[in-house]
Symmetry: C2
Subunit: 208 residues, 2 copies
């Protein structure tokens, strides 16, 4: 599939997962795309935990519902009402989940390009996530990034060492369709910003 | 261009920039691709500062050379020798630079999906960077991410407010060619890791 089609059709999926199987070769291509991302000092500091176990996913789902309630308690009026209609995850409906982690020790101690910016390794992990997301799209799959969780909980659930940081819980699998606009825009949570407002010439030109 | 071709041919460019102009419509498509990235709570917390001014780029280049020396002082023996041969930026040779920033206040105060993971907004900015990178590739341009700098220096240089964080300095422009292997691998700094070593099933399976 053409790159621009993938980029512009991509959505963050919640409700449209079918739960149908993902062929092994498809999953391999998606993971290989993630693994081909750039990384600071060629550290490739990511790992991918494929979570298929239904008990693990159900436990995570329950945790996510608790964090949803935490967030909801901070909302008032219209915002609370709008949030009430928004589905925040497809953990149980999607085919599997992929937890992406960051190991700061990989390639160390002297990671080329990281001495001045400690987070550069974390940035690399996110580049891999976007590759994964676009590759999934090209394969006809959807991805939904769930971020209503505490990192400590996820570490404990999956046995992730204390010095490895979970960066994302991604729901992955075939979808019935893709929405043409983001869920949050459709539900009136927030509108997309114009690109022009985000572009500055030579120096920061103020907020807009 | 096909997504997988772009993903697997992509390189982090240093020495191959030609300095040739980038047509305006090409630049617009590349920035629109970045702007189409997913973001936590649809916050779209990124901005893009297009740095064309030669004095700004030269000042940044000098700063980068200073940080190169800082990193080099921490290396011994073989590593120091290998690093000596590695070019770390194409700031002066590339057509322009794009500084990508993160504004944590955008979409606030209650950013949907960020209450439990403060860095989720920073992650969104990185997804936009990877979209930009791949779109540039599809347009026949190269990208080189330079991370030998101090954030405070870059803020001062470009007038970026104290609560907006510079995330990346990207060199952008036409290239004479793309290397088939990463520079750091070609120069013996580090070898790429096997994908299998990065994939775990259901639970963290140990480091490898």
């Amino acid at each position: 599939m053409e790159l621009y089609d993938v980029i512009h059709r991509r959505r963050d999926v919640r409700a449209e997962f079918t739960g149908a199987p993902i062929p092994r070769d498809v999953l391999d291509r998606v993971l290989a795309a993630a693994h081909a991302a750039p990384s600071v000092g060629l550290s490739q500091p990511w790992d991918f935990i494929l979570v298929r176990d239904v008990r693990l996913r159900r436990a995570f789902y329950e945790h996510v519902q608790g964090e949803r309630a935490v967030f909801a308690r901070g909302l008032r009026g219209d915002a609370a009402e709008r949030f009430g209609k928004i589905k925040i995850d497809g953990v149980l409906e999607s085919t599997l989940s992929v937890v992406v982690t960051y190991d700061a020790a990989r390639g160390g101690p002297a990671v080329l390009g990281r001495h001045a910016i400690a987070d550069a390794g974390l940035y690399s992990v996110c580049l891999a996530i976007q590759n994964l997301w676009l590759a999934a799209m090209a394969e006809g799959l959807g991805v939904g990034w769930v971020s209503f969780y505490r990192e400590a909980y996820l570490r404990e659930l999956l046995g992730i060492p204390g010095d490895v940081r979970p960066v994302a819980w991604l729901c992955l699998g075939p979808v019935s369709r893709l929405q043409s606009a983001p869920d949050l825009e459709r539900h009136g949570w927030r509108q997309r910003r114009e690109l022009d407002a985000a572009v500055h010439l030579d120096r920061w030109a103020g907020r807009s």
